[in-house]
Amino acid sequence: MSKTELPGRIRKAPEGFLDPAQIAKVQSGRRDFLRNAFLAAGAVAAGTAAAQPPKAAGFQGESEILDLPEHSKGLGQPVAARGYGAPSQFESNLQRRESPGLTRVSAASVSFTPLQGLFGIITPNGLHFERHHQGWWDVDPSRHRLMVMGLVKQPKVYTMDDLMRLPSVSRMHFIECGANTGMEWGNVAVPTVQYTHGMLSCCEYTGVPLAALLDDCGFDRAAARYVLAEGADGSGMTRTISIDRVLDDVLVAWAMNGEMLRPENGYPLRLVAPGLQGVSWVKWLRRVEVGDQPWGTKDETLHYVDLMPDGVARQYSSIQECKSVITSPSGGQTLLDKGFHNVTGLAWSGRGRIKRVDVSFDGGRNWRTARLEKPDEPKCLRRFNIGWVWDGGPAILQSRAIDDTGYVQPKINQLRAVRGSRSIYHNNAIQSWKVAEGGEVSNVQAY
């Protein structure tokens, strides 16, 4: 019995898992084979006429050109047919998805952003990754309050109306869960960049600097060393943020990418803690307390601690160090043709700006420097691109980012030498994608 016939297995669809003979057909220009393979796999292709093979004898042209489609001959839909627009029906493959088996209950789980299909650096709000500890809520903004208290002259309560009257700022930042790539500390465990790196998103946030609110309450500058941020959800998420971060760039934000926060991302108010792991970006933010000691909360004592080989757990590990990943080609995709390909990916650093990204096509032996796209913002994603002519042979693709502190993204074996393989959090290792001779791209660790 072949593997694909095992009961309960999901049948491999043809695009990702062609056998060598099939791939040879595709690469020789027999694109019709691919279409037929999809039909054979049960893809519903209603109304799709079998196309003429482009290179067959007597080829007159494609029906897509020779036969005018309906949308060229008829009247389209009116404006405001959809009051809040939605992506094309042909884009439905790109969804937030859970990693099966990672968690037992979906209200305390993660959904991953489909990085493999995104462009530029901004994450569409509907595809922003989710991490909830006790489910998400759609909180009535007229009933939401923010309290600032602790080491302040005047503890205060702010409504959303209050906050939105204040001088606001808009800034672009990445947010990455500390556990992103955490499944890969030991071995390769998941197939695609969605699951290896998809606890990563990037938005333009609008809000008010937390420092302005602390000033408004007359916080004790001499004694204040930390603030506690607390969420209004059932988990009452609480994280200690050091005061130097707060006075630097932490925001109390109500908007992402031009609209109000999505409920899954903390509507109507969340903390934006640039460079710090996602758990510190407390959603449904209800309270900020100024204090002189860290709080040792559940999510900085029992969870989100990094276990070192000697059995000691690092507390308050928060900074997301410099990291990058090639998003295309990436695991689960297949290169169908030799020749030129644009290799693209993302780089970021919780300590500052991305200065350079190098890409290797031979597993790290030789490197070339990629083009960095604009904008160049601190603690923000940076898109990189580099051209590559694939000769049809096996290759291992890697990217390596350098930030403006001079720090060079490490290899997984370098990280493991210090941290072992059980620390779960803060795996910022160089990612390797293997391109097989047939063009199939898969997740490997190579160094």
Partner: protein, 326 residues
């Protein structure tokens, strides 16, 4: 108007100006009342700042535990079914040293008591976030009691122990992993020292590229059909499969919060329900009643509360579940 009165007015005016000058944003926000601060300021720090006075016994904790905690965490806090286990992996030697030995030598399993370095954390955790589906519903006594019960399950306190704000600092001195954490690392400060120093070599760097790990065969299908997770331009673009209206209903009524289609969560998977009941006489009516009235016992101790669905909705859901949730 007397001169004194005029002077007093001037002074008052100055004071008002000074008060206004304190805030750059006059009219924004208002003072928090003491009652409001008390209602929300529930955090408990490792130095026990914020811990409310009170006490709770191990015996009382067992009662609360069995009623409100055991269904997820197991009677002895050992369950790995829903969440990671709470109790286990600590020894009398660990209590003596304050370092849990199995954290250095053990495998993946890490219980709450193995990791717990500050007792305030456990108190605060239970108080703010437990029970999982009804957080902040326990009384102060119940929180003390549940914490005492957990500590007793870990042999940290005896069975007749009463935990209180007066003896909690003594318990801290017995926590098995009280010396098990560190803040000496470079990931707390934005200017902290990184652990590793890679170099940006450009050519002939690694002489021998080692392929250390690849996705194992058995894991290739673990995340479903990967091709439908990629944009499909250039290939046959299939229109999206229509979603079953019953699935939408099950999601809308939050059935899927506790029931997976083929995966057991707090309740049985729909496929399990279908396999158990399909073909039984009168089963549709019985299950419709169960959806509406709630039930417990058929699939373990976690009860299903009554669901807010119409007869027609319940019937549609039950028929769909019995048909294998297509």
């Amino acid at each position: 108007m007397t001169r004194i009165f005029r002077l007093a007015l001037a002074v008052l005016g100055l004071l008002a100006c000074a008060a206004q000058a304190q805030s750059k944003f006059p009219g924004v926000g208002r003072p928090a009342t003491p009652a409001e601060i008390a209602a929300w300021d529930i955090d408990v720090r490792p130095d026990f700042k914020g811990l409310p006075p009170g006490s709770g016994s191990v015996a009382k904790g067992q009662e609360v535990w069995e009623a409100k905690c055991a269904s997820c965490h197991g009677t002895f806090g050992e369950s790995n079914e829903v969440f990671q286990p709470i109790v286990g992996g600590t020894t009398a030697e660990d209590i003596r040293t304050g370092r849990v030995k199995s954290l250095a030598t053990g495998g993946e399993a890490r219980t709450t008591l193995m990791k717990l370095s500050t007792i305030s954390t456990l108190w605060d955790y239970v108080n703010r976030a437990m029970p999982w589906n009804a957080p902040k519903s326990l009384t102060t006594e119940e929180v003390y009691a549940v914490v005492a019960y957990i500590l007793n399950l870990g042999d940290i306190v005896p069975g007749d122990f009463v935990l209180s704000d007066r003896n909690i600092a003594d318990v801290q001195k017995r926590l098995p992993n009280r010396n098990g954490t560190s803040r000496r690392h470079g990931l707390w400060d934005v200017k902290g020292q990184p652990d590793v120093k890679n170099v940006a070599c450009m050519s002939n760097c690694a002489t021998d590229v080692k392929m250390a790990s690849a996705l194992p065969e058995y894991a290739r299908d673990s995340h479903g059909d990967l091709t439908v997770q990629q944009r499909r331009i250039g290939a046959a673009a299939a229109p999206p499969a229509p979603q079953s209206p019953q699935l939408a209903l099950a999601q809308g009524k939050t059935c899927t919060a506790c029931h997976g289609i083929d995966k057991r969560a707090l309740g049985p998977a729909f496929h399990e329900v279908a396999a158990k009941y399909r073909g039984q006489a009168g089963i549709e009516a019985r299950l419709v009643e169960k959806v509406k009235q709630g039930g417990s016992g058929s699939w373990g101790a976690v009860p299903m509360p009554p669901q807010d669905v119409s007869d027609a909705e319940a019937r549609s859901l039950v028929q769909w579940i019995l048909a294998g949730s297509p």
